[in-house]
Symmetry: none
Subunit: 200 residues, 4 copies
DNA sequence: AATGAATGAGTTTTCATTCAT
DNA sequence: GATGAATGAAAACTCATTCAT
């Protein structure tokens, strides 16, 4: 009867649930996946799941959080050294990979959820502000180095470049496009032409 | 033997239902809006609604169809005369307007739906292929006129430009961005720099 | 505008409705067939149907009435002349034919309905009493002629013979049996052995 | 980790539901009884009922199965020893008792269902083939013993005798007849006269 | 800490019936 | 007489959530 209380059990269980839920959500969408499917997919009972999450919406919120964190990770994994366009391309590669490697992604569901749930929208907005700031800062640094045309507004550029990245991601998610490699190439070309100072 | 059978009644009712459904879907999303809400919003009884649509999914499909048609209309309303970038900008203006004027849009829900429903995905893919072809053709024509850098692949350019447009649209839908006018300006700048032949 | 009021229109319409309803009921059963199907099958609108019948139950009642009448007809078509067993066999032939010629019959549905609806049960009981009386009378006449064993109770015999007929009919209706000809032969043998005076 | 999981709970609940459903079906018929009534009658919520049965049709199928099993039981409870007619009479007694002791029976509903549902028809046909085989075999054995007229075809006799039993059962179910004791006597007389070798 | 049976309000959909034309 | 659009209560079934064990 030794009560070996594992202090990390909670974290482990939460991860377990989120993974099960993610699999279901990717397959069916947030509102078409049932808690029963999620429980089965996580290998737990409803009672156990509800010990770690207050509600389905809570799980969705946690998954959105994990998703934005994963984007941050991808951003940070494309490290600061080297020219801006190179770093940007590395990020895009990593990011688009995640969409194709899982086959299906949650991106569209998350955006749809954000369109109807203020709290999800807030969560997304926070992450978006962060990534925009990172990129705008990097652009300004590159402009200082003469790497990027100084007549470009860094904030605008950050927004429009992330718009393109998001748009391309969604093409992959919805099956409008299936060639992540081509998407990467297209983005590289876009970024190069858009950002580089015209020689004249 | 003479009732005034209105031959347009069917079409009118369908429109009435679609408008009611659209309002509900914009507010709550496809799967959070209930048929009861839709009936109330359309001012009809369930029986009446089901006289004109076989199922909720049927309504969703019709709304997606209407949405893609509306995009086609916006494309065609940006008429062929003048330089490509001008026409493109006019389309983007019209398109982004639709997102903001309705306050909330269905774009994200439609993409999420496409990620899980093959038939919706097909519907979307058809419209996408059409708009890509239109834009690629226009780009090639502009290249022939020396208006656009000939080293650009027209198909790639069409994809990446529509990616940017879609990405910007979703920023407005999800509230990441609220300034449609700024978005338009950003796109204009992107398209100009991306497409124009470098002077050297 | 000559208002040629057809005094038989009502009767014609009722027949038309009953025929449509019968087709639907045979195919799906009383409670699985919808009024819409019935209207379509009768080639009339719901409004028209409800002009001639107060309710679906009313239609069912009329159909049960028609069914019992048809049994009476079959009884009377097996005319009185000749030996009892011959007449009985002729009735059974006619009766079983009706079950197979339509492929599906209402017999089982009518009995099920009678088990739950007092008014249907009454309707059926009236017809049953009538046929029992006819048969018992015929048996007594045959007994007087020495054609049938006088130690048999005529009322009991009528009941048990109609039980056998009904049971055989239901075997055909439910597909337990498909050979009406064999059924006829079986009944003939049963009646002969059961009724005939043992030679000793 | 130790809840007392009752391994028989499932079976108990299924029985509980079938009993509730049976009561409703006897009173109203398969298609007139609502799931709400069934749930109330079983003392369970809809969710609980649907944990144990996939659909209303599933419940109907299970009830038909139980009904045919009960007939098999009645057959086997009329043991092999003794003369055929005695055993047959004992079966008929037991069988007809079940119709009257419950007041209302499902027999007619089951036949009606079989007339429209192939799967129910199959279920019924299997049980019918079994009982026919049992009876035909018994008849042949009795013929070998000189107990039954050898000029009778055993298969035909089995069919026609069960037809009579079914027909009599339905008379009780539908209220055409209420005297099970008289029915038994009638059948005894029928079987005796039909089967017994004429002395001459 | 975990189970999984149970809940019951809610979902989508059907259908007998009515009534304005 | 007839139409068929409309009704709305009720049907079958689902599912997020709870709680006794």
């Amino acid at each position: 009867m030794a009560r070996t209380v594992d202090p990390l059990l909670g974290a482990r269980r939460r991860r377990q649930i989120l993974e099960g839920a993610m699999a279901c959500f990717k397959m069916h969408g947030f509102h078409q996946a049932s808690m029963h499917q999620i429980c089965a997919s996580a290998g737990m009972s409803p009672g156990a799941v509800y010990r770690y999450f207050r509600s389905k919406d809570d799980i969705i919120a946690a998954i959105v959080e994990a998703w934005t964190n994963s984007q941050m990770t991808a951003l940070e994994e494309a490290p600061g050294a080297g020219a801006l366009t190179g770093r940007l391309n590395r990020f895009v590669s990593r990011w688009l990979e995640r969409f194709t490697e899982h086959g299906q992604s949650l991106a569209a569901d998350i955006l749809a959820e954000a369109a109807h749930s203020p709290s999800i929208a807030r969560s997304l907005a926070r992450a978006d502000a962060h990534r925009l700031k990172l990129l705008a800062t990097a652009i300004r640094a590159a402009q200082a180095l003469g790497e990027v045309d100084t007549s470009i507004n860094a904030n605008d550029a950050a927004q429009v470049l992330f718009s393109a990245i998001d748009g391309m991601s969604l093409r992959l998610v919805t099956g409008l496009d299936t060639d992540a490699r081509a998407a990467r190439r297209q983005f590289r070309e876009l970024a190069r032409r858009y950002l580089l100072a015209p020689a004249c």
